[in-house]
Amino acid sequence: MIEDSEIPPPSYKIVLLGDSSVGKTSLVHRFVTNKFDRNTANTIGAAFITKKYSSTKLPERSLKFEIWDTAGQERYRSLTPMYYRNARVALICFDLHNFEETFKTAKFWIEQIEVNEARDSTDPIEIRLIGNKRDLFLEESSGLDEESRQAYLEQVKQFCSSNNNIKFHQTSAVDGFGITDLFDSIIDDLDDEFFTAYADRKRAELEANKNGDQFGSILSSRLAQTTNASRCC
């Protein structure tokens, strides 16, 4: 009988998209290490980070987040479909402090995904809009008055409500605001069904394997076969 604790948490693939320098890498690093480094350099290509995480409110639910942190620079654009293919959630990030330009790009990404999704709607990707650098956005010296801020936020609100009610999160990698909330929300929003169906399936697999070989030994036994075969003469 397989115990619940023996079942590994389900994988959950997330992709971060957005303009260069909006803070995608810092967001992920803050989430995974709880640290912030002002000197984070531009991402080259993409980085793949995995982290097991349990919801703060519902600790019995945990996921193994598999996160694609992509490079935002224009020249990498043609590669990104590779990263959001098979992703469950796309976090489209923009910079609250550099609103116009980066929000425009965010809208571009949302459009891209929606176009691609239209073709393959078996398991639609969930889109969440992330406004990062909230700390700078709210700063006195940011050059923004309260009116402008509200205007920007209103723009976002309008956009989200006219686009299938995309969820919007304000975050700051500098002080951590909104980040655990974001990932908690991702877990909490899942149906129970997701977890139970997964647990059932996994349990069945593991039961079957208890009787047969584990994955690891399949692999190594295959290897043993191949290497023995090639030991020659």
């Binding site: 320098s21 224009e74 043609s78 550099n98 116009e100 330009e101 075969a229 020659c232």
Partner: protein, 215 residues
Amino acid sequence: MSGRKKTLLKVIILGDSGVGKTSLMQQFVNNKFSHQYKATIGADFLTKEITIDSNKQVTLQIWDTAGQERFQSLGVAFYRGADCCVLCYDVTNEKSLNNLTSWKDEFLVQSNVSNPQDFPFIIIGNKIDVDDSKKIPSLQKKLQNITNNQLGGLNYPVFETSAKDAINVESAFEVIAKMALQQEELNDANGNDVSDDYNDAINIHLESESSGCAC
């Protein structure tokens, strides 16, 4: 770093010698970095930063060319890759006004732009501060004639200015920068196919035979 992308525009200044291009430019740009090379290599190079639409920062790399015969062959080098072009004449000198057309033609031939109809030009008439008596008679009519008929009827913006008052020059450059930026955006929309940016370096399927044994 919050990347406010700065656009760089290459601006060519054309016109007969003596119309006052140099003093006009000196007024307009950052004086510190302009050196006088025209006589030796055929152009002066100047830089100016302006802001368009209150949020777009643009750096103008201004090529103030000499236009003399002996630098004719360098036309290709100078004009290649220009984003916009300023045609200058002297309001007291009719010849310089009439020559605008040949300057424009010369430019288009040498620079080999892909879309001559859409290429941003503006016209600047210099020395406007002189006595009316010295100006070209029926200036406005002649100017209209040239812009409508000679210069392809393309209605290029016209500015009049003097070296003592550079304000109009600033507006002139703002206008042409805007025109150039618009062109840029059009180009982006059309020619920016990135789908095949990442060719695979190797297409063959490698044989996966076992190696290391020659028996």
